[in-house]
Amino acid sequence: MKMYRADVTILPKDGVLDIQGKAVEKTLSSQGYDAVKEARVGKFIRLALEAEDNSDAGAKVRAMTEDLLVNDLVESYTFTLETCQ
């Protein structure tokens, strides 16, 4: 077994009202940051987990994320994996 670090990024799906993102975007614009066209506010979750190999770790992260970490009606996710000590 090896130790892995998974960084899971969760964002509201397109088409789902992201009130926090809108508020951040509006405030950035009002501060003169005209370059900003959109802000989306989500979550970042770091997991340390044991797995046989990369594909086992990926499967475990996907299972955990879809079971609990995201509500797939309103959120989507991506993740990265790294081995760690």
Binding site: I19, L68, N71, L73
Partner: protein
Amino acid sequence: MRSAIVVFPGSNCDRDVEKALLYMETGPVDMVWHDELDFPEKPDLVILPGGFSYGDYLRSGALAAKSRIMGVVRSHADSGGLVLGICNGFQILTESGILPGALLPNATLRFVCRPSYLRVERNDTPFTCSFPEGEIVQFPIAHHEGLYFLPPDDLEELEKNRRVIFRYADPESGEAGEDYSPNGSLHGIAGIINERGNVLGLMPHPERATVRGLIWGMDGRNVWHSLGEHFNVWEGR
């Protein structure tokens, strides 16, 4: 009618619901800790009360939806038993997939705590049979995540099947809908029922409008009255 009220860590309306049921004399009430595997006695009605289970961590209701007791709550619902989720209880029902949709942060991004006016859209359910249809009632709300969301096609289906039971309304004109949502809820939805008609989730708190002498009025009594009538609690009295 035997009621079971599930108590999660962070529930804060469990005692209010208990008081309301005892006040209405609907029958025995069991308080059931979320970590139990079963109810002490088979209930007729299961209530998931309001509050902030697990501090609303991750998403409101998401962690409570994985509690051990939810196994029997689900099988109770699957076998046609009545389940009522109020506020955080509604969020737990959507997070567990027992009811469709999701409750998102209020459009104002503020916690709202105030009276809310609702139109009773249907009175042919066990939860609403004592209300005149279309009646405007007042139950208070107190939440930060109360914006009911469902993708457009599913929302249309929900409306077509008349599964919206309570809708935010204007007390003067009696009109109801999104314009009267205190939280941006789509179509002004405050409460919905499942397809089979035995699971109701709503954001407003009928238990806070039940006991005489409180400032919130007593419109909530008819929810408990409906349930009591459904189970013939007061027959022969």
